[in-house]
Structure formats: structure tokens, C-alpha cells
Subunit: 434 residues, 2 copies
């Protein structure tokens, strides 16, 4: 991705910066690769659609060499290779995390080329283990959800503060121009959302899944609305409440520790940014029911979520190691929120490339502070998070992931703008070049 | 609907203007309504959610009188009542067409209030006949489609010329402001579509279902593109070809008599406005396959269709008498075009109220020329078409119908605008008041 190449020297040399320890570890695997292992490595290359990336084994043999390679996957021992074969997504992710697999070259670009290859070869094929098994998603019960959310969002606010924007917005930004700062783009996202919600002073907004409270506080301050913001991450809520007090907004924003399913009362606008990924398709109609029974007849609801071009099994590594219980839905799946509840969808916008840009910037900042992260956790944590951030950036750029913002209303909400021009009153018309 | 009330004296007095013949006919049904018939009439009122509309029978009895009624349904004979009971949608439509049922008051407003009531009481309940049966849709084979399309679109260009805009655009317009003329709004629609398609001179556009050719000719003239425009209505094609010659655009636009399933070659943009309603959900993946194999990697596809907030059986009368083989899909159903073919949806816009406005204007013009229509066909035809135009206007206003414009691309089409501002460069931000 151009921006990264220009602005981050770190990821350009990722192998050198992050792979050193890895190589040292792998000296215990000096027995040369046998013919079977070399052949199996070519099977991995096949599953990945033979991308322009070299595959190198621990003995220096090169089972896949496309000539003009833009990077290299190094398998440093046979255990890493077998892991990658028996469960490609989970195994390769784990092998990378443990240092059994390292990647030379621009991490995001290598993963982007692999994502293109996997798309061409067929995602299903890549996901299948040697036995043809596909990963099985898990269920988000009330207690299960709480555990899943704690796993990721309670990692520690100090960690997220290292590489998120100052307001700690941990969802897709909205870039007014491709070269805008992350801070500017997160502000633009909140403004874009506020405009879609048609806020007016005195309104009540319900927010399902409020993160560290940035949007709730922004809306209360800039639009004079009252916000009831729900979350089940204790760490995030404690931080958000502290922040509301500091900003003098404690009377305008109530941060509530509760599941979205328990939201009650009436609101003029309902918003959920980046929570749906943790809801599970089987609960979408319930979320829609909450919107239906809490949203006033004149209100707008906005649901913003990572998604897919078509229903696709979740990435096994990401689901197991980074976001337990997560699943990015296709539009047809997202419609299970609205259609069974007779909510009328008025607008869907795909912000895929905005999330690619956001993630590249997060990775750049993460890399800037990588020594602090390593000190807080360990090298495996660093590798896992670099893989997650770079992998997701690559996936959005490669269209393996989407970002859908859906706006809906009750039927017969007829006092609405004639067109969407109000969303773009102060916007230019730049183009992406990703 | 306000606009109608302001601008059309005709539909305000629809009962007087269009019901006179009806009353004369109904003198053969003078036997008073019995207790069963009166009770059955209240069942119709129940199925319609007891709207603010009186029900009057042939003997003057009033089985449903809501007090502050905005209009009256007159059943002029018992056959009309029974028809309406045994198959509410089809029967009431047919009874209205034959004059056994007439409507006093603003036709669109009465139908709007009925649509609200039916929505509240549950569409399914209204659709069911006395025996609980629901209407069954039919299949659009290649030969079936041709017959269905001829039924409606080959009615005669002279007829459509009476009440459509000058360019004969027979799909939802796009109103820059609520008081814009139909001519201006149809032009704005074509511009809106062209902007969404990101056209540049020299591009090739495929259009599936081109009507009388207005969009194809507009794009060729204004954007310097070549258009291959497909249609299976002979009347429309003959007219479109004549028009292309007259405008000196015969070299730029090829009007082709063929089914969308037979489109081949490569295009830079694919557009289909108001054809999907005639395709049938079971064929959506085929349409998507056509888009996938003909659209260039850098191209945009736009599909514009009447739709629903959720999957809903088609209106039996409309399907049987006006649009055989038609079905308006929900968004989740429309996704069967894109998701199985790995096309990435970038934008969905709901233009529901634009179609309400368009239909009210069509009805106003139809009513202005009603004597000519009666002379071309007969009184039953006039009644059927007034019911269709007013009923659809009411349905869009009541959210029983939607209008979805969906834009999609191939994966990894990354050279796209950063936002949608380019669609609104010369637009204001007016609001609806429908």
C-alpha cells in the first residue's frame, strides 16, 4: 500500500526488525526438508493461488519461487509447516505468532498479494484443512459475549492509547482526503455518522457498543444530545466515565454496563458502530427488535460493521486469537436485523478502503511503539497484532472484507431529506489510489 | 398527498368524474344487503386495519364508519363484495376495474390510508382469501418473459406518450427539489445514474431493459459513450431505434432485441433501470453472472428496482392485471444478484419517496388525458390504470414499496472516489413533506 511505503520505514524492513529472534529460535530444526515436506509446501502455495511471494523452508530450499517476488514466507521449522497444512488459517497465523513462520517484505503488501491469490484460488479451498474440514463458529450467549469482549477490549487502555487516535476510536475512520490524519478522519467519521442520524439538540441517542466513549461524548458536545451508551467491556466503560467527568459531560452521557439486548426506553436516534461483528447472525433479528421497539417514529438508526461481499466462514485465526465470537456479515445477512422487523433501509455505504487506510495507519503507529508493546506483553503478542492489523488492512484492500454503514427508519418516515447532499456539504471529491 | 391536492382538481373528485357510469350499472343489485353481507364487509374493514375510510354497500348501509372518514369505498353490488372477500387483492382490484367498487375522495390518499391500515393489520392477513390461500407467483422463462413484457409495454406508445414525460422515461424519477417538474426530475435521474456509473467518453455501456431508449440516448449524447441497449418489447425498440436515427445517434446506440441472459461482450458500465421487477428472484444469480462476465475490472454496475422492506408476496391484482410475472424484491433478495458472483456492493440508495412523487405526477397527467385514454381503450381500462398509478403512489408513500438503486463493482476496484460527494456537486438539500 503506497501510504505505508512512503510513511513507514518500519514495516518495509519487517523481517529484519521483527524476525531476528525468530531465526535464532529456529536453529533447532536443522534436519533438511524431505521431498514430502517440499511437495506439501507447494500445496500451500497452490491454496494461496501461487502469489508473487517466495516460500522458503528451514534448510534454504525454495518450493515456490515466482521469479519477481515481492516478499518471502520463511518456514523456520517443520512444525510450523505442518501446522499451516493441517489448518491453513489458524495454523499459519499461529506459526507466524510463535515465530515458526516469518514474512520478509512489506507485511501488508505481502498479505495483500496472498489475499488476492486466495480469492482467485477460492477462499473455501484455502480455509480447508488437509481433511477438508472448515472452521466452526461459536455462539454469543449473554455470558459468552462478555467473555469474548473482555478477551479483546480489556487488554488495557494503555495499550490501545499507544497506537489509536487521541480520542481512542477503534473502528473504521472516514477519510475526507486520502492524506488526512487519522485524528481528522476519525472526527470526520463521527460527523458523517451524526449527519446520517439527522441529530438535533435535545434528542436522545442510544448507542449499542460504545467503545471508549468517543462518539457518545462527541455527539453530546457537538450536537447537544443526551446519549445512553451501552458496553460490556469494563475497562472501556471505566475509561469512558472518567472522560465524561473530565469533559463535564457526565450529565449528558450515561455509560451503561449492559448487553444491547437489554436496552429499553425510547430514543430519537440509534447507533451501533463496530459492535455487530460480535453479535452473531443468529441474534441479528434480536438487535433489530431492540431498534424497532426503542426508536421513535421520526428516528434514524445506523449500524456500522465490518462485512463480506458474500457469506463467508470467519477467518479461524482471527476468530480464535484476536476476536473470539466475531463474524463479519454480508449485506444479505445484515438484512436479518431490519427485514424481519419491518425497518426500512434508506442507505448503505461501503467504506472498505477507508478501513484499509485506517488499519495501515494503526499498524504504522503500532510499529512506532513496538518496543513499549513488547515490554507490556511479549514478542508473540507483537507478532500476532502485527499480523492482525496488516492482515485486515490487506483484506479490506483486497475486498476480502467490507465495511457497511446501514441507515434505516421505521416505515412512513416521510419527513426526510430529498437526497444525500447534506452529508457532503463541505466535502471535496478526491479519489483513492490503493 | 399534498402535491396532488394542490395541483389536480380531477382526482379530488374522482368519484364524481369516474364513478358515474358505475352507479348507473349497479341498479341491477337492488336487493338489500343481508346481515351476513354486512358482517362480511366488516371483515374487509378488519383486514384493512379499520382505516379512516367508510364502507358503503349497494343499499346504502354503512358496515364500517370511522367517523372522521377521508373517503368512502362503495360496493355497488354483492358480486363485488364477494370477489373482494374471496381474494382481497385481486378481487378488490377487479371489482374497482369493473365498477362494482368505486372510491370517493382523493384516490391516492384513500389508498394510502388503506395501505397504512393493511400494514398495521399485517399484509399477510390482507392477502389471504377466506380460505387462507396466498397468491402464487409465476415463472419468467425466456418465452414467458416475452409474453409478460408485451402485455404491459406493448400497449401502444401513443398511450404512454399521453402521460409520461417527453423523453418517455417509465421508471422512478429523481427530484432535485420536491416541486421540480417531472421532465427535470427524469433528467436528474439520468444524471444521477450516469454519475454513479463514473462514465467517461469512449466507454461502452450495456443497458439491460432499456424502455423507449431515453437513458441510452442521453448517455450517448451527454457522455460520449457507446451503448448496447437490450429489450424484449418490440414496440419500445421500434420507437427507440427511430429516435436514435432522428437524433443522429444510431452509430452510438445499438438497440438490441434480446433477453438480458444473452448479453455478451465487455462493457465499462452495466446499468439496468426498472427491469429487475420482471426478472424473478430465481434468475437473479443469472443476472449477476451476466454482470460478472461482461463488466470490465474497472467498471461500475447499477441495478435500480422497485423493492420491499422485507420479502413479501407480490400484490395479486397488480401481478395479474398490470405487470404479469413481476416481483419487487427486498435487499436481501437483491443480494442474490451480487453475493453468489462475488460482486462488491458499494452503495445502496432508497428512492422510495421519489417514486411516490413520480407516480402522483403520472396520475395527474393521466387524469388530464383521461378522455383520450377512454377513447383508445374503455372505462374499465381507465379504472384499472388509475388504481395502479394511485395505488403504487400510495404504496411508496406508505413504505409498502421501496425503490433501491444498488451500485456494485468487481473486487479490488480501488481507483474509486473517496466519498459520494461527486453525486451531489450541484445539489441542494431540500426535504420531503409527503
Amino acid at each position: 500500500m503506497k501510504r505505508q511505503a512512503q510513511s513507514s520505514g518500519v514495516s518495509q524492513t519487517s523481517h529484519d526488525s521483527f524476525g531476528a529472534e525468530t531465526k535464532a529460535k529456529s536453529v533447532n530444526a536443522l534436519r533438511p526438508a524431505n521431498a514430502l515436506e517440499k511437495w506439501l509446501a507447494t500445496r500451500i502455495a497452490d491454496k494461496m493461488g501461487r502469489p508473487p511471494v517466495r516460500l522458503v523452508l528451514w534448510d534454504g530450499s525454495v518450493p515456490h519461487d515466482p521469479g519477481s517476488a515481492i516478499g518471502t514466507l520463511h518456514f523456520h521449522d517443520r512444525a510450523g509447516l505442518w501446522k499451516s497444512l493441517t489448518s491453513p488459517e489458524l495454523g499459519m497465523g499461529d506459526a507466524f505468532t510463535s515465530g515458526q513462520l516469518s514474512i520478509e517484505g512489506d507485511l501488508e503488501e505481502v498479505l495483500y498479494q496472498c489475499a488476492i491469490g486466495i480469492d482467485k484460488a477460492g477462499h473455501r479451498r484455502f480455509k480447508q484443512s488437509l481433511t477438508g474440514r472448515l472452521p466452526v463458529p461459536r455462539i454469543n450467549s449473554l455470558s459468552g459475549s462478555a467473555a469474548h469482549i473482555a478477551h479483546h477490549y480489556d487488554l488495557g487502555n494503555d495499550f490501545y492509547r499507544l497506537w489509536l487516535d487521541k480520542e481512542l476510536v477503534y473502528t473504521c475512520a472516514y477519510y475526507p482526503t486520502p492524506d488526512a490524519s487519522l485524528e481528522r478522519a476519525q472526527l470526520s467519521k463521527m460527523e458523517h455518522v451524526a449527519r446520517k442520524l439527522q441529530l438535533r439538540p435535545g434528542m436522545t441517542v442510544f448507542e449499542a457498543g460504545c467503545g471508549w466513549g468517543a462518539l457518545a461524548l462527541h455527539l453530546a458536545k457537538q450536537y447537544g444530545v443526551k446519549v445512553h451508551a451501552f458496553n460490556i467491556s469494563k475497562e472501556q466503560l471505566a475509561f469512558a466515565r472518567e472522560r465524561a467527568k473530565r469533559k463535564g459531560l457526565a450529565d449528558s452521557v450515561a455509560f451503561i454496563e449492559d448487553d444491547y439486548r437489554n436496552i429499553s426506553g425510547t430514543c430519537d436516534a440509534f447507533v451501533s458502530i463496530g459492535m455487530l461483528e460480535h453479535v452473531g447472525v443468529e441474534h441479528y433479528a434480536q438487535l433489530g427488535d431492540v431498534i424497532k421497539r426503542t426508536l421513535a417514529p421520526h428516528g434514524h438508526a445506523l449500524v456500522h460493521s465490518v462485512g463480506r461481499a458474500k457469506p463467508t466462514p470467519v477467518n479461524a485465526w482471527l476468530e480464535k486469537r484476536i476476536f473470539p465470537g466475531s463474524y463479519p456479515p454480508s449485506i444479505s445477512e445484515m438484512m436479518q436485523i431490519f427485514e424481519p422487523n419491518a425497518l426500512v433501509v434508506s442507505d448503505i455505504e461501503n467504506l472498505r478502503l477507508h478501513y484499509a487506510q485506517t488499519l495501515v495507519e494503526w499498524l504504522r503507529r503500532f510499529d512506532m511503539h513496538v518496543d513499549k508493546v513488547r515490554a507490556m506483553y511479549d514478542e508473540n503478542f507483537v507478532r500476532a497484532w502485527r499480523l492482525y492489523l496488516a492482515g485486515c488492512a490487506a483484506s479490506f484492500r483486497a475486498s476480502a472484507l467490507q465495511l457497511f454503514q446501514v441507515v434505516a427508519t421505521h416505515p412512513r418516515h416521510n419527513k426526510v431529506p430529498v437526497n444525500r447532499a447534506q452529508l457532503y456539504q463541505d466535502a471535496g471529491s478526491p479519489r483513492w489510489d490503493l
